[in-house]
Amino acid sequence: MEKFEKLSGIAAPLPLINIDTDMIIPKQFLKTIKRSGLGVNLFDEMRYDSEGKEIPDFVLNKPQYRDAQILVAGDNFGCGSSREHAPWAIKDFGIRCVIAPSFADIFYNNCFKNGILPIALPQEQVDVLMKEAEKGANARIEIDLEAQTVSTSEGQIFGFEVDAFKKHCLLEGLDDIGLTLEKAAAIESFEAQAAQARPWV
């Protein structure tokens, strides 16, 4: 997995609540058997009209946001399905960090498996960052995972919470499965004990 340490980039504002995974990547793009190449279809139905032409008003189609690396959005981001195609599409587009007042559980978790940092901040702070994001290329937002801070171009600094284990994996770019397999002995002894306690499973 790609490491995440620091990021300084343009943030795209998407001031909508309940942005669901069907909006992030509609189902017709779930038919792939690969993880890559989904970036062009990120937010497909908001980004393109029914003929496939770009809708100029949509934030990621505006010239100043085409290289956005951060997304600032409303409450309950990523609700809906468990499709990891959502973070794959976000990452493939080039976005490495999503900031919102809250996230849906499964999406939040999926981000960390893909080198994306989701940051939950209080609404007032998200409002400040949303304003910053609206300035386009004139404002870069800086994220420091080690220090757990988000800084605006005006020098405002917000701290954020992140699970210590998830942080560690993201900073080091660690593969979960490899880490878990190091605990194979614990899994085996659990299995032996469970086979006694619940042999019908």
Binding site: I17, K31, N110, I177, I187
Partner: protein, 467 residues
């Protein structure tokens, strides 16, 4: 011993390893797999030279993509990419030696219907699937939740999941339901009350008299939509109804093992003085048949209500409601019961079980549909067979419904079953998101009986008027 919730008990019985910071390896008893969220996981295993750790605990069935038309044995009914996904699952199931129900098998169906039907889902288990509606299996008192593809790979390789414990939330539905009110109305009303993020970070246990009174099918409907309320998992404590349902299923324990299992299952309930981080209580008698008006499952109102105005809300919901109403083509103040319907879809893992079909047939008996098209998609091949045996299929066909083969179908419209832009659908599925049932399609969620009523009248209808 300190008092525990049902969630605490199942959790404690499955922790294979706990790190100092509280990160746990949770052992997984059943891993359900379907064609859409698994190819990349199997590919990952291959690339790392890893095997499936417990193929015996892993069950696969294609459902999301498969055509539900009668001619689906003909490969040409599938688009190329759908076919590749289904073929990839065929191959992965074979190569890794996991249990498999191919499209040609009568037991094939929606993964969350097949699991319980075949007795794979049992009380006290941990169950995961690369699909958010895995919450369905919570109806058996199993801790069941959806996972992403990286986690699918993790479970395949290790039979565990890296987890932190969630919080406990109790949703109690007291008293009796009124006539015409169903499990779907309960679960939608709960989301209406708590919002789609109300359960985020929690595992919900549904309890109370109205929940006890539900059949296993109804309980599955309730737990299915826990995720729509933000909770990864919903649970209902197992009882005699649960044991009765499970007994004799192909993969349920038998003989002495059954007795041993039953002994443990009977300890699976929340202790009286257990701690709850959040409690929500609804009165069963206050719940009405409901429909959704917007593009979030929390946009729920009784069928007797009128379409709300954006100004009725606060915060970010004002804009969201405006956007929803525009998308849905509805005007504030309009009576919900006057909203005209083009299409009716009865099916999905929320409401594709035999009891749902019976409820629809009850309304449709001897009537004709007034909508442009209507389809019933049974949740599994066995549900379909049973409905045919009970004569329900004839009722549907005579009423003008298409009688389909099993699959997810128009619940998410990955196969050709889709709405066209502006087409308005009364659906028994679980998501009314923009574009969910096809680009520009407009979805109103409701119970099977309500959907059947809408099919007959051509508009959203209070089913109580037809009873």
């Amino acid at each position: 011993m300190s008092p525990k919730t049902l969630y605490d008990k199942i959790w404690d019985a499955h922790v294979a390893h706990e790190a100092e910071d509280g990160t746990c390896l949770l052992y997984i008893d059943r891993h359900l797999v379907h064609e859409v969220t698994s190819p990349q996981a199997f590919e990952g295993l291959r690339m790392a030279g890893r095997k499936v750790h417990a193929p015996d605990k892993t069950i696969a069935v294609p459902d999301h993509n498969v055509p539900t038309t009668l001619d689906r044995a003909n490969a040409a009914t599938m688009t190329e990419d759908s076919r590749i996904q289904v073929e990839a699952l065929d191959k992965n199931a074979r190569d890794f030696g996991i249990h498999y129900y191919p499209v040609s098998d009568v037991r094939q169906g929606i993964v969350h219907i097949v699991g319980p039907e075949q007795g794979w889902t049992l009380p006290g288990m941990t169950v995961v699937c690369g699909d958010s509606h895995t919450a369905t299996h919570g109806a058996f008192g199993a801790l069941a939740h959806g996972i992403g593809t990286s986690e699918v790979e993790h479970v395949l390789a290790t039979q565990t999941l890296i987890q932190r414990k969630g919080k406990n939330m109790k949703v109690e539905i007291t008293g009796k339901l009124r006539p015409g009110v169903t499990a779907k109305d309960i679960t939608l009303s709960v989301i209406g009350a708590t919002g789609t993020a109300g359960g985020t970070g929690y595992v919900i246990e549904y309890c109370g008299e109205a929940i006890r009174d539900l059949s296993m099918e109804g309980r599955m409907t309730v737990c299915n939509m826990a995720i729509e309320g933000g909770a990864r998992a919903g649970l209902i404590a197992p009882d005699e109804k649960t044991f009765e349902y499970v007994k004799g299923r192909p993969h349920a324990p038998k003989g002495a093992q059954w007795e041993a299992a039953l002994n443990w299952w009977k300890t699976l309930y929340s202790d009286d003085d257990a701690h709850w981080d959040k409690v929500v209580t609804l009165k069963g008698e206050d719940i009405a048949p409901v429909v959704t008006w917007g593009t979030s499952p929390e946009d729920v109102l009784p069928i007797t209500a009128t379409v709300p105005a954006p100004e009725d809300f606060s915060g970010g919901k004002v804009d969201a409601a405006r956007r929803s109403l525009e998308y849905m083509g509805l005007k504030p103040g309009q009576k919900l019961s006057e909203v005209e319907i083009d299409t009716v879809f009865i099916g999905s893992c929320t409401n594709g079980r035999i009891e749902d079909l019976r409820a629809a047939a009850e309304i449709l008996k001897g009537k004709k549909i007034k909508v442009k098209r209507a389809m019933i998609v049974p949740g599994s091949g066995l549900v379909r067979a049973q409905a045919e045996e009970e004569g329900l299929a004839d009722i549907f066909i005579e009423a003008g419904f298409e009688w389909r083969l099993a699959g997810c179908s128009m619940c998410l419209a990955m196969n050709p079953d889709q709405l066209s832009p502006g087409e308005r659908c009364a659906a028994t599925s679980n998501r009314n998101f923009e574009g969910r049932q096809g680009r520009g399609g407009r979805t109103h969620l409701m119970s099977p009986a309500m959907a059947a009523a809408a099919a007959v009248t051509g508009h959203l209808t209070d089913v109580r008027e037809m009873m």
